[in-house]
């Protein structure tokens, strides 16, 4: 009973995570300039990974294993935000203009 509840919760979290990854990819392809694409890189994918980690963590059955996966998420969070900052600063300095609505 409990294990099937855990399974359902796990499936919900992982599916929600996969949805955010999909949205991130759609943003990567549809958004008009490098800055808007960076929005989808930092937010959609990190939320997606966070949800996948939660879904897997409640499956793992060990607190330490769950914490280790959360640690992996934190590493990605830090490097994702830093990468977005560095890439957007370089793009601004490189003279890539901000896309504006017509």
């Amino acid at each position: 009973m409990i294990s099937s509840l855990v399974n359902i919760a796990s499936i919900l979290f992982v599916v929600a995570g996969a949805f955010f990854f999909l949205a991130g990819t759609v943003g990567l392809l549809r958004f008009p300039d490098v800055y808007t694409r960076l929005h989808s890189l930092t937010k959609a994918d990190n939320t997606g990974l966070g949800l996948v980690v939660v879904g897997l963590a409640i499956q793992s059955g060990s607190v330490l294993a769950a914490l280790k996966m959360i640690l992996a998420w934190l590493f990605v969070l830090v490097s994702g935000a830093t990468a977005a900052h560095l890439i957007s600063t370089t793009a601004l300095k490189g003279g890539i203009r901000v896309w504006r609505k017509e």
């Binding site: 499956q59 280790k68 992996a72 590493f75 994702g80 977005a84 003279g95």
Partner: protein, 88 residues
């Protein structure tokens, strides 16, 4: 349950494949770099899913290393690739 995780892993791999269109189109070097960074994040998620579905805890270590080193290439990109100063 393991089949479900494998399916999601496959779905995320398709996401990477679709994202390659952005690498192909660019147009700026920054666009290509950010796509590669995105694939790294997706790769971490796939490795975590595979670690569960294949019951291989060591793959969590691989995901950890991938996450830890994901930004190294970005640091190399911003410090080594010259950016064109375009006219405003």
């Amino acid at each position: 349950m393991n089949t479900f995780f494998t399916i999601v892993a496959g779905f995320l791999l398709v996401n990477i494949a679709a994202g390659l269109v952005r690498v192909y189109r660019g147009p700026s070097p920054a666009d290509r770099m950010l796509s590669a960074q995105l694939f790294g994040t997706t790769g971490v998620a796939i490795l975590l899913l595979l670690s569960q579905s294949l019951s291989t805890p060591a793959l969590v270590d691989a995901a950890l290393v991938l996450g830890l080193l994901a930004a190294v290439a970005v640091v190399a990109f911003v410090t080594r690739i010259p950016q064109n100063e375009r006219d405003e």
